[in-house]
Symmetry: C2
Subunit: 253 residues, 2 copies
């Protein structure tokens, strides 16, 4: 199993506090030592960083912990390999251009038999079940719509496709096209929405504490989604199983 | 105009010495202050780093100058914007998956009217002429071949497509699918192939000197392609104009 981290905010927001916890789990406090990756949306583009090294010992992860990249949508993943060797091309999140938008996908779980599903326009570069599933989903979207649909239409289409994939096994997923952050969950994903009045939070994984009231304005809203709660003094909720959760502007819509 | 840097070697090779020169030109010794990007192939995957900040002042560029990422194929670009605002999505190199391979493209020049050329499967995410040209080229390749062709077949197809694009203006390009490094040039691109006996080289742009004999083995071959010679004590050659140069295994084939 792998660990996922997502963030969606209504203002460009610094992810370093949460990323510190996730990065520690990649070979430090957790067993997910088979690489890690992160995507930061910025305008229509997405910056991605990938490393097949354990994140707890990765130079690039250390840079990101020190460097205040701000973004409205972030998707991160630390990997414990089950299908596909430890290699850059098997490292999530995966990215494809669909209708001129950068789509990003990270998955935790196994999908039995997904590699037998025929693909269309998109082909995997690596050897994971996850990338195959993403290519299938991307191909289905292109077949259904000639251009980027309105958010509500895309929401429904993605939910239907996620339900099909979820029949094959564990399908905890974070996905974005730069407008919304989508989460689909068949096992466990937790989330929290931070908004005013902001308080203090302490990471579960290391002795790191932050007072959000010092780094926010009263209108900020920041949703964080993670495989396990990242802080010990806040209340995290479970996302509903078997349906698509949609975050836009820092709100679960 | 922008500056390009490419490397192709027969063993995973450290690009830091050459990247130091290029990065300085991005807002330091050169006027190319509108962002920069680099792609490193590793197996079938490609790591990419992009930053709309000038490379001379970029934290990520500093990391890469300190961090010995080794690769057999590298493509880098520093940008001076002419079409498309300074933004992440307009920052080269651009990447698309074609036939399950990561294709990477960086361009220097302007292509008058290219945005009127109809696109097929691939659509630009940003607003540059360059990404439009790349999407056109990628769509043409997909129409011509159902799967990745043999190297010699791909070489010929790419040359024909580059010649079509070059009719629109200045088209200095580096392109790779992870197997070969392609360079097409209508104005100026220089290259050097370093092999045994290796000597000493000094950068044009800063007081940095390297003795390649200390960091290589006798069988190593490393080709470097750049918009301008990067060192002052080696002999750089111009690439032929108006045809595709193909580098494989550190050799101009």
């Amino acid at each position: 199993m792998c660990e996922l981290l997502g963030m969606n905010a209504n203002v460009p927001t610094d992810i370093r506090f949460s990323f510190a916890a996730l990065a520690r789990r990649g070979g430090g406090t957790g067993p997910h030592r088979d690489g890690w990756g992160i995507a930061f949306y910025e305008g229509r583009g997405a910056r991605t960083f990938h490393d097949p090294q354990p994140s707890a010992h990765s130079e690039i992860a250390r840079l990101l912990r020190d460097y205040p990249l701000k973004s409205e949508i972030v998707i991160a993943h630390v990997r414990r390999a089950n299908r596909g060797k430890v290699a850059l091309e098997n490292t999530h999140p995966f990215t494809r251009e669909i209708w001129g938008r950068a789509f990003t996908f990270a998955h935790n779980g196994q999908l039995k038999g997904v590699k037998k599903w025929p693909l269309g326009l998109y082909q995997p570069i690596g050897a994971t079940d996850s990338e195959h599933a993403f290519c299938w989903l991307a191909g289905q979207l292109r077949e259904r719509f000639a251009s980027l649909p309105a958010p509500a239409v895309l929401d429904r289409a993605l939910e239907a496709l996620c339900l099909e994939l979820a029949r094959l096994g564990v399908f905890n997923v974070l996905l974005s096209e730069g407008r919304s952050l989508y989460a689909f969950c068949t096992k466990t994903l937790f989330y929290i929405v931070r908004k005013a009045p902001f308080g203090v939070a302490t990471l579960v994984d290391e002795d790191l504490r932050i007072d959000f009231s010092q780094v926010t304005t009263p209108d900020d809203r920041v949703a964080v989604i993670a495989s396990n709660p990242l802080t010990r003094d806040e209340v995290w909720s479970q996302l509903p199983l078997g349906r698509l959760s949609v975050f836009r502007g820092g709100v679960l819509v």
